[in-house]
């Protein structure tokens, strides 16, 4: 049921891509040792000309490969943390809202809607310009606009689950309401959240790249967005400076998307199977 053969080519392709990226991020210090921002070669070296700088160097002579490899760490770390934070917070709000109902539900859902009406990117931009760039603030800023979907989905799931027999059974057993909400209902509502996670991660990656592109990233770390932004000034003379990190970005988002889609399809199938049974 959960085997490799069971998840479709899309998910397999996506997961392979992500595994490769994960490996690259983990092995960054081995592939490109030292500070990736160090001025290590002649400026504006084109790719594939020098074995020491296989992807070339930028305007100041920083190695592009080192930037890509170390940038994957920053990108993946920020994306994973902010997606996790968004999902956790969102499912917490969703569970409370769905389970408690009434005035609490009303208040929490209006709050969610308030956040949903503002584009996630603007929220992130506002948060960053108030608190200044840095990894923790980036994580916070990105998750600020990303938690609402999780809250909505969890709430819907909780609403249908709370009428089930096993919840009634838990009540009869004398469990306290919050205990029922978080120990009985929430774990059962996780299914759809898993496929939502992929969307969250993908949008977090893009928001992070866009923020760095605009210069709101942490200037002491390489990120793909900042590499693209720096390459933009020499787009005509050295297009590879923007293209290479751009490809990395596309590959990552594509990987996440395919993996998420594959998993969502499987989720849909198994659900239909369950219903059929």
């Amino acid at each position: 049921m959960t085997g490799w053969g069971n998840i479709g080519w899309q998910a397999r392709f996506g997961l392979l891509l992500l595994a490769a990226l994960g490996l690259m991020a983990l092995a960054a210090p081995l592939i490109a040792p030292g500070d990736p921002l160090a001025l290590s070669g002649p400026p504006l070296l084109r790719p594939f000309l020098d074995a020491a700088h296989p992807l070339g160097t930028d305007r100041l002579g920083r190695d592009v490969l080192a930037g890509i490899v170390h940038g994957s760490r920053t990108t993946l770390m920020i994306a994973l943390f902010s997606a996790a934070a968004a999902l956790m917070f969102g499912s917490l709000i969703g569970t409370l809202s769905g389970f408690l109902g009434g005035i609490v539900d009303l208040a929490l859902m209006r709050l969610t809607e308030a956040f949903q009406t503002v584009p996630a990117f603007l929220l992130a931009l506002a948060a960053i310009s108030m608190s200044g760039p840095g990894i923790p603030t980036l994580v916070f800023a990105i998750s600020l606009g990303n938690w609402t979907q999780a809250a909505r989905v969890t709430r819907a799931e909780v609403l249908s689950l709370r009428e089930r027999d096993f919840v009634a059974a838990a009540r009869v057993l004398g469990m306290r309401p919050l205990e029922i909400a978080f120990r009985e209902i929430l774990p059962n509502a996780f299914g759809p959240l898993v496929s939502l996670a992929a969307i969250s991660v993908a949008s977090a990656i893009l928001i992070e790249a866009a923020l760095s592109f605009l210069g709101f990233g942490d200037p002491n770390r390489v990120t793909w967005g900042s590499m693209i932004a720096e390459g933009r000034t020499v787009l005509r003379a050295a297009p590879y400076l923007s293209v290479v990190p751009g490809i990395a970005l596309v590959a990552t988002v594509l990987g996440v998307h395919f993996a998420g889609r594959g998993l969502a399809l499987r989720e849909g199938v198994s659900r239909r199977e369950r219903v059929a049974q």
Binding site: A38, R59, L60, P219, N220, T233
Partner: protein
Amino acid sequence: MSAFFPTRRRFLAASASAAALTVLPLGGVPLGGTQSGRAWAQEPVRGGRLVVAGDSEPTNLNPAIVASNGVFFVASKVIEPLAEQSYGGTDGLEPRLATSWEGSEDGLSVTFRLREGVSWHDGKPFTAADVAFSALEVWKKLQNLGRVVFRNLETVETPDDHTAIFKFSAPTPFQLIRNALPVVTSVLPAHLYRDTDIARNPANQKLVGTGPFVFAEHRPGEYFLLRRNENYWKKGEPLLDEIVYQFLPDRAAAGNALEAEEIHLAAFSAVPLADLDRISQVPGLKVHANGYEGLTYQLVVEINHRRKELADLKVRQAIAHAIDRDFVVKTIFLGYAKPAFGPIPATDPTFFEPDLPRAAFDPARAEALLDEAGYKRGDGGTRFALRLLPAPFFNETKQFGDYLRQALAKIGIDAQIVGNDTPAHLKAVYTDHDFDIAVATPVYRSDPAISTTILFQSGLPAGVPFSNQYGFADQPIDALIDQAAAEIDGARRAGLYRQLQKEVAQKLPLINVADFSFITVARDTVRNVSDNPRWAVSNWSNVWIAG
């Protein structure tokens, strides 16, 4: 949006007809064809519209209040100063609204003879009363630079309509006044400003001046439009009918717009330096590297002397030795800059002191100095950490910030870059003093007393941008600055400033790295480009378009 973009087709049509013209004589038109062709290339042609890449859209466009290059770029064509810089003129000046100027022996008065037969764009005559009003009410009270230059201005006497005598309460060097004329003396029409709230006068947006061009229209985000002043005092000028400052949707695309023949000219390095190599080879485009000598920007490392490590001269010397100025000039400025070792650029021969100690690029010496100062490399090879705030004004300042971080890492100083937007940067450095080192670009404006000495003078209030907010106080330097401010003899004054440069180079309150200015890229049909040291911010009355 594209109201002023000549379409590609129209341009092609124009060049096709030009080609037809040059071909025609061969086809049988007997005489004069080629001759007029040649004359056509050299005799100034009247008429035509010059389309320029817009720079910024200042909310206050009045150059008498905001003496900054972004304002002058547009406003200098409408509102004129008493004199303009020139390559060949006496003392490097050329008359505009004043025809002559003379300082008294005691430094207490300066007499200006004003041009006759000049009228404002609204038809009223220009008189000495306009100069007196501008000087006392605007330059002295409201203008960022005039407040320094005209600090001691007491009254302006106007014995007749074309003479203005400036009276000072304390000796004021005539040399300073002269050097400041092009920048600080934009004359406003008194009849529109008198008894109004000058800072909020509508004429600050819809300018009224005496210049060769009349302010016609401003569409925010789209363009500024200037039209020919038919009654300009200089006969036969201006040559152009219109100047349009077109704001490009993507500011980084000025190079493409030039190539696509959508604009004629991009000043202030709107075309990124990295693109110049390619652009200079495009037929029909010309790169002008001169015409900015009067607007030298200085790349400096600002130092917060409140940090105990940085208060130590040896540490500052170490930082100076860690910077490879040749790399900065070659790689960051792509050769369009000069290494600098002192606070006055070599482009000003009157005040520049060539004989200064030059901190060579020598990381080993830098490390030795840091060891001597007692900051040994600790675990992980780091001596101490600093917060580095690169000014976000230019691409080059940000790149230099990145470079400086790496250069300092080599000698064991861990510099963490703090990125800010412009208002936050100005506040952090000049108001809150919340930095350790910063990268800045003060402007040298033809005289050290205008905007250079305030970088070293102590006791200035917090919040003044581009001034000594560095916690640096040095009695001999303060004394020199005071002495020079009251010295009316030009040669002795220059001597004092030369001494100041030596003191500064020795004590390193801040570290000068390079002097840079800008590049203009124009179509080769645009003539008389860069013909004075402040060309981009001068009046362009003699600019014309061939063909």
